[in-house]
Each structure stands twice: as structure tokens, then as C-alpha cells.
């Protein structure tokens, strides 16, 4: 956990710290389950997953470790009908890149991060498309992947706003003794 003081051994504090650490993953899981429900919008589940994974990977990598990304990706693959493993791989690659560039990205303005996220969305959709094609030995239609990338990029600002507030709250809770 980068820059986070060790929680004092009180039970409540430990519980609180655990809840804080689990919140991003649980939030991602819950929103994915909701998005995979009968919303009438296809590709919504992958489109709500990537912004959360990338946001937490950039701003709070401790709350989104690779294991959590793996589990989230597995849930995504089970919720959608993509070949199993493709979502896991896509999310892990995005997570790895985001963590690698986080020192640079975390200092940039919101607009720049969004722009970078658009690149993430396009790359994730392309990687997902390639993996699906590889797994199926067939070229799937290009339009759904494009649509998914656009939807993902478009959903980022909303997620960034809500998650940013959450992140600030967490920081405040951690800094208060």
C-alpha cells in the first residue's frame, strides 16, 4: 500500500481499512452485475469495468491489485458471452500499463487523463477483438468493438467524477488520526 500508514490494531479500524481496500473491487463487481442486467444496452458491462479498473490503477493501485483485476475480469467474462479469459487478459494488460504510467498520469489534468483513457479504451477493445478472433479462429464483426470503445471512453468522465470523490473521502479518512 503506497503511502498508507499501517492501521492501528483496533478492530473497528481494521474493519474500516479492509472495507476501504475492498470497496473498489466490490463496487466494480456490483456495477458490472447491474450493467449486465436487462438494461437494453449491449457492451455496457465491459464499458463500466474498464474505467473503474484504470482509474483505481492510476490513483490507488493498492486498492486494485492484480488479483482483484483478475477476479473482476473473470466476473466480466462470465457475465458477458466473450470467450472466457479475454476480458481477464485485456483488463490485466490495461492495469499493468496504467500502473506503469501512473506516476506520470496522476499528475496530469483531467482532460489529459481522459484523452489517455480514450487510448486505453481503444487499445482494450482492439486487444479484446484480437483475442476473440484468435480464440474463435474467425474474424468477428468490427462494429461492436468500435461501439464498445466509444461507450467506454464516453463513460469515463462520470466514473472519474464519482470515483474521484470517493478517493478524496478515502484519503481524508486515512489522514485523520
Amino acid at each position: 500500500m503506497v503511502g498508507r500508514p499501517e492501521p492501528s490494531p483496533g478492530l473497528l479500524r481494521r474493519l474500516e481499512a479492509m472495507a476501504r481496500a475492498a470497496l473498489p473491487t466490490l463496487g466494480a463487481g456490483l456495477s458490472m452485475v447491474l450493467a449486465a442486467g436487462p438494461t437494453g444496452v449491449p457492451a455496457l458491462a465491459p464499458a463500466v469495468t474498464l474505467p473503474q479498473v484504470v482509474f483505481w490503477s492510476i490513483f490507488r493501485p493498492g486498492a486494485m491489485p492484480p488479483v482483484a483485476v483478475f477476479l473482476v475480469g473473470l466476473l466480466l467474462d462470465l457475465l458477458t458471452l466473450a470467450p472466457i479469459g479475454t476480458g481477464v487478459m485485456t483488463l490485466l494488460v490495461a492495469h499493468g500499463l496504467a500502473v506503469g504510467w501512473r506516476r506520470f498520469l496522476a499528475r496530469q489534468s483531467f482532460l489529459f487523463v481522459w484523452l489517455a483513457f480514450c487510448g486505453f479504451a481503444a487499445g482494450a477493445a482492439a486487444l479484446g477483438y484480437m483475442l476473440t478472433a484468435l480464440m474463435a479462429f474467425d474474424l468477428p464483426a468490427l462494429a461492436p468493438a468500435t461501439y464498445q470503445a466509444a461507450l467506454t471512453a464516453g463513460l469515463y468522465p462520470g466514473f472519474a467524477y464519482v470515483l474521484g470523490k470517493l478517493h478524496q473521502m478515502m484519503v481524508r479518512a486515512e489522514e485523520s488520526p
Binding site: 438494461t39 491489485p65 472466457i84 479469459g85 487478459m89 490485466l92 499493468g96 480464440m135
Partner: protein, 287 residues
């Protein structure tokens, strides 16, 4: 919690991503090798989530209905305006109709016009399609106490359907206007020109033999003609449609592809009766 030294923890943290990526490859291969496994996992997850979705279905539907209602609400004003205008127009028509009705009654009084009596009709259910000697014919069920005569005219709720060609004790066959053997004398409503509606076994009968200079106009209404004493005048038949090939066709008002109930009118006409398919004495004097 297991206490680990900081370097070990850092090493683990650095290792976990490659390990996870390797695991992801493993998952992909596993999913590829055993497709049933992924399917079973999906079904198990769906089973787990089903009650959750069921609980959320109602609020979701409420939200979606609300969203769908918004454009409707936005157009409500416009719709109201349109309806009010239409109401106004219809009111004018109503006034015109009432005026014409009184004028008509007055003129009839002046001419001592004998009104035609309203024709009697029976309603019958269509029980079978096709069959018989004709390609486009329907069979109707008739109660035994109802007298049906050959040459009676069948209409559905919209317009002309066909004529009765064969009569049994409990059933009758109606030759539809679309059959190749059907020839219906019609009148073009606006020009009052006569023409013949000839069935083609297709959905739209053709229009033939109209008088010179009375070319049917696209969209013109067609009604039956009393010529030949086989039909009463002015039963609604259809509208003229010019096909792309340049032939005049008739779009029938009646929905012949989904006939369920027809009305059989007895106008007491017997000018030209359809030929009897099975030799059988004609029932006389019981209409």
C-alpha cells in the same frame, strides 16, 4: 494477517502481475479446451444472480418506462395542437354531413323517392382456406337453418370479399376476388367509369376494360357496379394502384389473407350466377 518483510512483499507485488497474466492465459486455454466448463460456470453465476436481477427488475422497468415517456411528454403539446386542429376539421365535416343529410332528405321528399330496403345478411365464420376447384376460395361454416344462395355477396368489415359459388347443408364456398376466375364489374368512384376487376391469384387483382379516356387514377376508390345485375352498386372494393410494370391493379379494402368472419348479403340478385361445380338443383324461392 500474515506479516511479511517489506522486500518480500515488494517482490510479491512485482511478481503478481506476471503471475496473473500467466493465469489469464491459462484461463483462456482452459476455456478453449473445455467449452462446457465455461458454460457451466456461466450458468452457475446466472443462477446466483437471478434473484438479484428479479429484485432489481421492477425499479429498472420503472426507470426505463420513465425514460421512454420523456419524448412522449415532450411531443404532448404538439400532439394536442394537432388533435385540436383535427377535431376542428372533423367538426366542419360533421356540419357538412348533417347539412347534406337534411338536404338529401328534403330532395327525396320532393321526388317521392322509394328507398331501397336494407339488405338482410348473415354472419359466418371462415373455417378453411383454399381447396376446391379454385385457388383462392374459402370455406365458411353455415348453421343448417340459415339459407345461403349461390351468388350471394360476401363482405368483411372493410369491403368486398367475393361471391358464394357452392352451397352445402352446413358450409358454403366463397370465390375470393383475387382468384383467377373472378370477374367483378366495378365503377371508378370519381369518374363513374366502368371497368372489370380480374383476379390473378395474386394479392392484387388487375383492372381491365375501362372506357376510353377514363384512365384510372392512382388512389381512386373502386366500388361495385350494378351492371350485369350480379352486384348491387356502391359496395366498397378497393383503391387503384399502378404497378411498376404499368398495369392498373386494385388494392382491396378487405383483408383476404386473414379472413375470419364474413357477412353474406342477400341482395336478391341473380343476374349471372357462377357455374355450378357439382350438378345440383338450384334452390328457388327461399331467400
Amino acid at each position: 494477517m500474515i506479516r511479511l518483510s517489506i522486500p518480500l512483499r515488494q517482490a510479491l507485488a512485482r511478481l503478481s502481475l506476471p503471475v496473473m497474466i500467466a493465469l489469464a492465459f491459462g484461463t483462456m486455454l482452459l476455456g478453449k479446451a473445455d467449452a462446457l466448463l465455461a458454460e457451466r460456470a456461466r450458468v452457475a453465476l446466472a443462477d446466483l444472480l437471478a434473484p438479484f436481477y428479479a429484485a432489481f427488475a421492477e425499479p429498472t422497468r420503472a426507470v426505463r418506462d420513465l425514460v421512454l415517456e420523456v419524448p412522449e411528454l415532450l411531443t404532448l403539446r404538439e400532439e394536442n395542437h394537432r388533435l385540436r386542429e383535427e377535431n376542428e376539421r372533423l367538426r366542419r365535416w360533421q356540419a357538412a354531413a348533417l347539412a347534406l343529410e337534411t338536404e338529401n332528405a328534403m330532395l327525396r321528399r320532393q321526388l317521392s323517392f322509394l328507398p331501397e330496403q336494407a339488405p338482410a345478411f348473415h354472419t359466418a365464420r371462415v373455417v378453411a382456406d383454399g381447396g376446391g376447384v379454385y385457388a383462392r376460395a374459402v370455406l365458411i361454416a353455415v348453421p343448417p337453418d340459415v339459407q345461403i344462395r349461390r351468388g350471394q355477396i360476401a363482405l368483411d368489415e372493410r369491403g368486398f370479399v367475393g361471391r358464394v359459388t357452392e352451397v352445402g347443408n352446413r358450409s358454403a364456398r366463397i370465390l375470393l376476388a383475387t382468384d383467377m376466375n373472378s370477374r367483378i364489374p366495378v365503377t371508378l368512384e370519381s369518374s363513374r367509369a366502368r371497368a372489370m376487376m380480374v383476379g390473378t391469384n395474386g394479392a392484387r387483382p388487375r383492372l381491365q376494360f375501362w372506357g376510353e379516356g377514363a384512365r384510372p387514377v392512382e388512389g381512386e376508390r373502386l366500388v361495385t357496379s350494378a351492371e350485369g345485375v350480379a352486384f348491387p352498386p356502391n359496395l366498397p372494393v378497393g383503391v387503384v394502384r399502378w404497378s411498376e410494370g404499368g398495369t392498373a391493379e386494385v388494392e382491396l379494402f378487405a383483408r383476404l389473407d386473414r379472413l375470419d368472419i364474413v357477412r353474406l348479403f342477400d341482395f336478391g340478385l341473380g343476374g349471372i350466377l357462377p357455374p355450378e361445380a357439382v350438378a345440383r338443383p338450384e334452390l328457388r324461392g327461399r331467400r
